[in-house]
């Protein structure tokens, strides 16, 4: 029996590998020209600082399985139930894939920081996003970015998350720990730089995360200011001047930064809504896909035969994404072997 997996990120790749191992044939659809999804834009992973490229490579190697057919540069456009329990997935390159189950692993998209105009992204030179910083890490370009190494860097948490002004009520979960991880990486590259994190709440939910936070303060001398950025301006030297309230002191604070990093949040990928809509799978108001039940029905959707894996249902870290993918593989197997089909 064949399964169509939409999305060649970590979730889709992991699920493909597991399902192929169970003897199913898998069509894995990826809209970019290589697999890995957003992971391709990362340098190192938290909490163990593993190389992201290494993990992508590992995922890629596992796909070298006779049961897996990879369709790159192909975007899934529409899912239709051609016969009961038979799904047809139309691709942008006119191919139609058929499967007894469809796994949505469409992931997330990074928030477009231009939408927070007052933060100056795209207007001021020295404002970059956390995704761009990862790229600078990979290219070892941070120290020479503006001719000389920055002396003070600020990380702005919650850009595009927990903000009703851009209609994103949700927490993206990962930005806090990513900021801590990136701050540590910056410290390793630039021992002299002063580093600040501007946060609303520190949400260090995962194993080892809180420890990393402690270490950041203790070993890496990273400073934390509790206050949300209201606006930023650019001074005559091209530096960024930020305005926050240091809420724990109770006073407004101004600070000049040589580099401001916006911790961009996660939003539902554009494809999720379109594909889910074509098979009447409901979404949360923020655009992520709604599972059949938040406790016992994860990986399942309101439509039997349509499954989900990874961050297309909510912001998720890599550990949870891979776990979720394996769980999805098991749910699909259960469905195809019929134990759940007529329940």
């Amino acid at each position: 029996m064949n399964i169509v997996i939409i999305g060649g990120g970590p979730a889709g790749s992991e699920a493909a590998y597991r399902l192929a191992g169970e003897g199913y044939t898998v069509d894995l659809v990826e809209k970019e020209n290589s697999i890995g999804g957003n992971l391709n834009n990362w340098h190192q992973l938290f909490p163990d600082r593993k190389s992201a490229a290494g993990l992508v490579k590992e995922l890629q190697q596992r796909l070298n399985h006779p049961g897996i057919t990879l369709h790159i540069d192909a975007e899934a456009r529409e899912i239709a139930e051609s016969a009961p329990g038979k799904f047809a997935v139309k691709l942008s390159n006119k191919t139609v894939l058929h499967g007894s189950a469809v796994l949505l692993a469409t992931g997330y998209k990074v928030f477009d920081a231009k939408r927070k105009e007052e933060y100056g992204y795209g207007i001021y030179k020295r404002v970059i996003t956390s995704a761009e910083l990862e790229n600078l890490f990979t290219n070892r370009a941070l120290a020479t970015l503006y001719g000389e190494a920055p002396k003070r860097i600020g990380f702005i948490h919650c850009v595009g998350s927990r903000d009703e002004k851009i209609c994103n009520y949700h927490c993206s979960k990962l930005c806090c720990v990513t900021a801590v991880k990136q701050a540590i990486e910056v410290r390793e590259m630039l021992p002299e730089v002063e580093i600040f994190c501007f946060y609303m709440d520190m949400r260090m939910f995962g194993p080892g995360y809180e420890e990393m936070y402690r270490e950041a303060q203790e070993r890496y001398d990273i400073k934390f200011i509790r206050g949300r950025l209201s606006e930023a301006a650019e001074n005559i030297h091209g530096q960024v001047v930020v305005k926050v309230e240091d809420t724990l002191v109770g006073k407004p604070l101004r600070m000049t930064l040589d580099l401001m990093v916006l911790m961009v949040g996660m939003e539902a990928a554009d494809g999720s809504g379109k594909l889910a809509g074509s098979v009447q799978v409901p979404l949360y108001p923020n655009g992520f896909i709604r599972p059949a039940d938040p406790h016992t029905g994860t990986n399942l959707t309101a439509r039997p035969g349509i499954f989900t894996a990874g961050s297309c249902t909510s912001p998720m870290n890599l550990t949870d994404t891979l776990t979720d993918a394996r769980s999805a593989a098991w749910q699909i197997k259960k469905w195809l072997t019929g134990s759940d089909k007529h329940a």
Binding site: E118, E164, G227, R228, L229, E231, K243, E245, T247, P252
Partner: protein, 112 residues
Amino acid sequence: MPTLWGYSISAARSIDYDKNDQSFLRRLAHSCPSSKLCIGCGGCTAACSAGNLTEFNIRQLQMLVKRGETRETAEQLHKCMLCGKCLLVCPRGVDTRKMILSMKRFLREHDQ
């Protein structure tokens, strides 16, 4: 009668929630329900046009009201210019102008 060990904090320094008048905070919650949404991020105070020029912390003042501490609010609130900049930066959608206007109204009634 059980003894409360170590509760004799200097009265001037502490918030005695039991003794504070709670009518103001109840009315604020009623007349501006969105004021309950504040998570104290301080975006409003950072943006504040008045706070740019003088000592004025709108986040702190409304928080004090919510704890029944109204004296400082009564002394400071008139500094607000009601320009609405805070309204545009609040990530929680607190209707800050409405909140301030409600507080202004209560203070005025209290004066009379």
